[in-house]
């Protein structure tokens, strides 16, 4: 569970977020829907712990949280397989054997085994995103945050993504921010609209 309590944030004179209160349930997909410039990315970054809020607090177990970035941010110096392996080996201290089994399993689950030894550079937008999701899943966290996951995808890949996210929520809490209304309706259990730095439940 994630609790967002009275979060406010301003850049200079401009109030971006005005006393936001939210709750994200376990095994649920929660979507924060809003146009660009409405403060949703700022809220997302605060929840993810990348940015600091001016007021309020976020109750989240950050050790159990990971995020998938809009531009994926795969590691260009590593191939697909090692993008999954290195974090597991370094952070979780998994043995090579353990990490390999887990990586293979996840690549299979996401239908991207065929990309295993590809370079990051050679991936299409949809493929890169699935690799980024695979890398996050390999870390075995309970909460996954997604920043604009559909921005680089066509319809077909969006449908694949929706299937994937619905599969994920069986054992994870999923939070998504997006401006894509159709996608939100297709995927969410709960939708919050964000407008002028305030939340409206849709």
């Amino acid at each position: 569970m994630i609790l967002v309590e009275n979060i406010s944030k301003a850049y200079g004179d401009k109030l971006i977020l005005n006393s936001i209160n939210l709750q994200f349930k376990q095994n649920n997909i929660t979507v924060l829907l809003g146009k660009s410039g409405e403060g949703k990315t700022t809220l997302f970054r605060i929840i993810a712990g990348i940015e600091d809020q001016d007021e309020g607090k976020v109750i989240i177990d950050s050790t159990k949280t990971t995020m998938v970035f809009q531009d994926n941010q795969l590691y260009p110096h590593l191939n697909v397989f090692n993008n999954l392996m290195t974090p597991q080996r370094v952070i979780l201290k998994r043995t090579k054997k353990e990490a390999t089994i887990i990586s293979d399993d996840i690549l299979k689950r996401l239908n991207i085994e065929y990309l295993k030894y590809n370079t990051v550079e050679s991936l299409s937008g949809g493929e890169a995103q699935r690799v980024a999701i695979a890398r996050a899943l390999a870390m075995d966290k309970d909460i996954i945050l997604f920043d604009e996951p559909t921005s680089a995808l066509d319809r077909e890949n969006i449908n694949i993504l929706i299937g994937l996210l619905k599969d994920l929520k069986k054992d994870k809490t999923v939070l998504i921010i997006t401006h894509d209304e159709e996608f939100s309706i297709g995927v969410a259990d709960t939708i919050y609209r964000i407008e002028n730095g305030e939340i409206k439940k849709a």
Binding site: A48, G49, I50, T63, T65, T66, M67, F69, D71, Q73, Y75, P76, H77, N79, T86, P87, V90, I91, L92, T119, V120, E121, R135, A136, M139
Partner: protein
């Protein structure tokens, strides 16, 4: 070209090659780690330390290498530091090339997107782990071409050590030319420099191919 004559002068020229390679090799081994170290420190925000380090790169990039060699040879003893010539050469070359490598590495580190750090932290890498496993490998890759260029320049710059009376490749050739009034020796050293450069270019290509996936 008179090959008999070339064979005659070759041993003396190769004697100079030894000195050239000595200065080149030690400088390479010492200055790259120095550049990586200082470049890394400079990419972290630490105002006072960074100012000191900027002064270092400014000093060594802003004055002629030849002047630095003279200073090492004739200036340092005035402050009570006396080294033999080859040590002075290696010391000054290392500091000079270290300054260039510092700027190359620092620039590469700063050119890596902030998102790489953010995603690493969100996956659970510590700051130090992010630096060593994610940032530095990418920065080195991006620096490869510039580093290769510097290494090629270094081979040729070693000829400056003749100014502090070290018998390098070029100086030995010049001695032969003045002694015999024949120019073959210049062709020979020219060829040797070209061969050295060829080795470096090929070596760099191998390294680049090995770490090729991306860009």
């Amino acid at each position: 070209m008179d090959f008999q004559y070339v064979l005659e002068i070759l041993p003396y020229i190769l004697e100079g090659l030894k000195t050239t390679l000595q200065v080149f090799g030690f400088t390479l081994i010492l200055s790259i780690p120095l550049g990586v170290l200082i470049g890394s420190v400079q990419s972290i925000k630490m105002p006072i330390i960074n100012q000191g380090l900027s002064a270092y790169t400014w000093l060594f990039r802003g004055t002629p290498l030849l002047l630095q060699l003279y200073f090492g040879m004739y200036g340092l003893p005035a402050f009570g530091f006396t080294f033999n010539r080859i040590t002075v050469a290696i010391l000054i070359f290392t500091l000079n090339y270290g300054a260039y490598f510092t700027e190359i590495i620092r620039g590469s580190i700063l050119s890596i997107s902030k998102g790489q750090t953010e995603v690493s932290r969100s996956l659970g890498f510590s700051k130090t782990q992010t630096f060593f496993y994610i940032i530095i490998p990418q920065a080195l890759k991006r620096s490869l071409q510039s580093i290769t260029n510097e290494i090629i320049t270094l081979v040729k710059d070693t000829s400056l050590i003749a100014a502090i009376a070290l018998n390098d490749l070029l100086r030995n050739a010049k001695e032969v030319v003045s002694r015999d009034f024949r120019v073959e020796a210049f062709f020979v050293v020219g060829a040797i420099y070209l061969i050295l450069t060829l080795f470096i270019v090929n070596g760099a290509k191998k390294v680049e191919n090995k770490y090729a996936f991306y860009r």
